[in-house]
């Protein structure tokens, strides 16, 4: 662990799952000292370096350091706390998964907001990309020694990122599109569902579930 024991983190975001769940899970898994701030919005917009959230504030030895952009924050925390492999190739394989997930989120919003002739085209694109991603996750999992982790036998950035992604789509995005959880659930294989539920049971993540529900109750026997 590269951060000192007197380092504290503040995650600034809205009080929703949104784009910050990966950051929350990383800080939890790292057993870091951290809290969350929910700035008044848009009143506090101009006070953020990039006028956007999330923002990570790191305080150590009287110094304050600030980082923006959800994926950069995730990769930084993953590296600080040892969840990102130091081998560059292994790191790239995990980073590309997170990037792919971000693409899927963009594709979701593109199909949601599309109108006219673009609508069905964007829906097709979203479904094609999603199915391809699930296939890729399955391929990686089939090569993993432990079916409870994507890479190796310990919790990694890729596992945390995957969990946050599925939580986003299955628990949160229904506020934008009511049927998205069911659409996504129908695309998942038993192996992926098992992976999601295994990650959830990681002892390092236990404190996270004192504040929110697990997804275990969402997947019933008929999903497997």
């Amino acid at each position: 662990m590269l951060s000192g024991s007197d380092t504290v983190y503040v995650l600034r975001y809205f009080d929703v799952i949104g784009r910050a769940e990966g950051c929350r899970l990383l800080l939890t898994a790292a057993n870091a000292s951290w809290t969350e701030e929910h700035p008044e919005w848009p009143a506090e917009k101009a006070n953020q370096p990039f006028e956007r959230l999330p923002v990570l504030v790191e305080r150590s030895n009287g110094n304050e350091w600030i980082l923006c952009e959800s994926l950069t924050i995730e990769r930084y925390l993953a590296r600080v706390f040892g969840f990102m492999p130091t081998d560059l190739k292994q790191a790239a394989l995990q980073e590309q998964m997170a990037d792919q997930q971000a693409d899927l989120l963009s594709a979701f919003f593109a199909q949601l907001t599309a109108t006219g002739d673009m609508k069905s085209k964007q829906i097709d694109e979203f479904n094609t990309l999603f199915d391809r991603m699930v296939k890729e996750h399955g391929r990686i999992l089939s090569r993993s020694s432990s079916k409870q982790h994507l890479f190796g036998d310990q919790l990694s950035y890729a596992d945390i990122s995957l969990y946050a992604f599925y939580k986003l789509f299955i628990v949160y995005l229904k506020c934008y599109q009511s049927d998205i959880a069911e659409i996504v659930k129908s695309k998942l294989t038993p192996e992926i569902i098992n992976l999601i539920l295994s990650i959830e049971k990681e002892p390092q993540l236990a404190p996270h579930f004192s504040k929110c529900d697990t997804m275990a109750a969402i997947f019933t026997a008929k999903d497997f």
């Binding site: 590269l2 370096p49 990039f50 006028e51 350091w65 980082l67 923006c68 952009e69 994926l71 950069t72 924050i73 990769r75 930084y76 590296r79 600080v80 560059l88 190739k89 790191a91 790239a92 394989l93 980073e95 590309q96 990037d99 792919q100 693409d103 963009s106 593109a110 907001t113 599309a114 109108t115 006219g116 673009m118 964007q122 094609t128 990309l129 391809r132 991603m133 890729e136």
Partner: protein, 219 residues
């Protein structure tokens, strides 16, 4: 070690990758697969794809996703600092540039005037943030035209690729974008573009085609 970059035959999102490969001084070529015929054959169903070929006959290493490709090459060839905080400051700037591109994609897919106006505003607001941050960094770096330190960095390289896409590529689909960008550029960012363009590490690539430094200021 040699590389194949699989992408469309155009500037697009891959110019930064081309520049990084050039700056790394490695052997590399490009493939322009038939599209969309080859879509299903790509690991993520999209491009770019980077293939790293090892001379020792080991299996090819394949990376997808433009951001991951850039960061892999930049770390491997020393353009991203080893210090995690310094690295993160460069990455956050690049992620903000990706956000600008997403806003522009939103503008391209807008079908009604209301959506077009909204996405154009989002694009301009985000671009303004990028330019403001870059100008601030260049100034506090001593105005040598670079964003960080004294040598060409990942942030400098991807910034050049970012502006090349806006000023010399997107203009084909959205003619007014180049003018909007030009009016927003600060002298600091114009200087960044010029300094990167003439850097010995990338000049072999930047000297192909029309000068971006000229395009950044021309009427």
């Amino acid at each position: 070690m040699s590389y194949i970059l699989r992408y469309f035959d155009g500037i697009g999102i891959s110019e930064a990758t081309r520049l990084l490969l050039t700056a790394a001084n490695v052997e590399w070529t490009e493939e322009h697969p038939e599209w969309p015929q080859e879509k299903a054959n790509q690991p993520h169903g999209r491009m770019p794809v980077l293939i790293e070929k090892d001379v020792d006959g080991e299996a090819d290493f394949v990376v997808c996703e433009s951001g991951s490709i850039e960061r892999y090459l930049a770390r491997k060839y020393g353009f991203i600092p080893a210090d995690l905080k310094q690295a993160a400051l460069q990455e956050q700037l690049r992620d903000l540039m990706f956000d600008v591109n997403h806003a522009l994609a939103g503008r391209l897919s807008s079908r009604c005037k209301e959506d077009r106006v909204e996405s154009e505003k989002k694009f301009e607001d985000l671009l303004a943030l990028v330019i403001k941050e870059q100008s601030k960094l260049i100034t506090s770096n001593g105005n040598n035209g670079l964003l960080f330190g004294d040598c060409l960095s990942y942030a400098d390289i991807v910034s050049y690729g970012f502006y090349k896409n806006l000023l010399q590529s997107v203009v084909v689909l959205l003619p007014d974008v180049a003018d909007i960008v030009r009016t927003m550029l600060t002298p600091e960012v114009v200087n960044l573009i010029s300094v990167v363009e003439s850097d010995p590490k990338v000049v072999k690539h930047t000297s192909k085609g029309n000068s971006l430094a000229v395009a950044a200021v021309m009427e």
